[in-house]
């Protein structure tokens, strides 16, 4: 079965597929000169720090001459690298260390604040609607009428197995 009988259409389809396999031009523009070093989480050249996928598809920093010199030095024995150079190389590949991206931040405060704020807006809306928008309750909400309704339900023996009338003793005319 051929999805695209026309050759031109098929070519166009293949071209767009190839083009958007890496997320389209916008992602490629953002990647710029960064080295694509792996598959990452979904094959797109995007960077993020996460313990689920600790090795993203691209290096975090763009290459510059200083880093290139360091990379050259990295080809030799790593014992010749100073601790600072090792850190620089790490930051070249990654943005944050595990300790940094797993650090507990006080962000929960703003989350809680926004949630409570939204709740208070909801309460304010419901109060104002109660006072300003809705009229009086209908007369069927009067106590008299409600008890009359209850009496009628019992007289008609509605829901006699598990419902209201099952709680009423018809011999002694009172609640069980």
């Amino acid at each position: 079965m051929n999805l695209f009988p026309c050759l031109k259409l098929r070519k166009l389809y293949q071209m767009t597929r190839r083009r958007f396999a890496s997320g389209g031009d916008s992602i490629r523009l953002m990647v710029a000169d960064r080295e694509v070093v792996g598959h990452g989480i979904n094959g797109r050249p995007i960077y993020f720090d996460s313990p689920d996928c600790p090795f993203p598809a691209i290096r975090y920093q763009e290459v510059n001459s200083k880093l290139c010199a360091l990379r050259e030095k990295e080809l030799d024995d790593w014992k010749n690298l100073s601790l600072d150079e090792k850190k620089q190389l790490y930051r070249h590949s990654f943005c944050q260390t595990y300790a940094e991206f797993q650090h507990f931040t006080p962000e929960w405060k703003i989350c809680l604040a926004v949630a409570l704020w939204l709740v208070s807006v909801g309460i304010a809306i419901s109060i104002s609607m109660k006072t300003m928008l809705y009229g009086k309750l209908p007369q069927t909400f009067d106590d008299e009428r409600q008890s009359a309704q209850l009496r009628r339900i019992i007289q008609l023996q509605m829901n006699p197995i598990t419902g209201l009338s099952s709680k009423w003793c018809y011999q002694e005319n009172k609640w069980k």
């Binding site: 598959h39 600790p54 024995d77 690298l81 944050q96 260390t97 300790a99 940094e100």
Partner: protein, 149 residues
């Protein structure tokens, strides 16, 4: 006439049913072979120590391993470190160490010193610093807010 047809039909049905059930058994048999821990370790050790492995494959293997519900054994960790040495990527080695430490979860106090003790010779041989030497066991830099950039 009818009885013959019925008998034929019944036998055909039975044979088809038996056929299916035996096929199901065969499939289950294939899935049932469980890999032992040693075989698993050996498989990944072999994966990382393959000649001509590149950064993509190393990252794939490490991402997979760190996504599993296990702590990589010291041998796998060593193989991973040596693999990153072969592709000349020290950042990869440090990140791999960090990932393995993170996999210890709430057993960091007992498991991590054991792992470190086992892999220390390799670390010294390759010149890879431990996370503590780098100071990466605690947050080093704060991330600049995107609103200040």
């Amino acid at each position: 006439m009818l009885s013959i047809t019925a008998r034929n039909l019944a036998s055909a049905l039975r044979s088809s049913l038996v056929g299916t059930s035996s096929r199901v058994a065969a499939v289950r048999c294939l899935h049932g072979t469980e890999e032992s821990a040693e075989e698993f370790d050996k498989r990944y050790e072999k994966y990382f120590s393959r000649e001509g492995i590149d950064g993509w494959e190393i990252r794939k293997g490490m991402n997979d391993l760190l996504g599993m519900d296990l702590v990589p054994s010291p041998k796998i960790i060593e193989a991973g470190l040596r693999a990153s040495r072969r592709v000349n990527d020290i950042a990869l080695a440090i990140r791999w160490l960090e990932g393995c430490k993170d996999k210890c979860g709430d057993q960091k106090a007992t498991l991590y010193p054991y792992l470190l003790e086992k892999i220390t010779p390799t670390l010294q041989e390759l010149g890879i610093p431990t996370i503590e030497e780098l100071g990466y066991d605690k947050p080093e830099l704060a991330l600049k807010s995107v609103y200040d950039a």
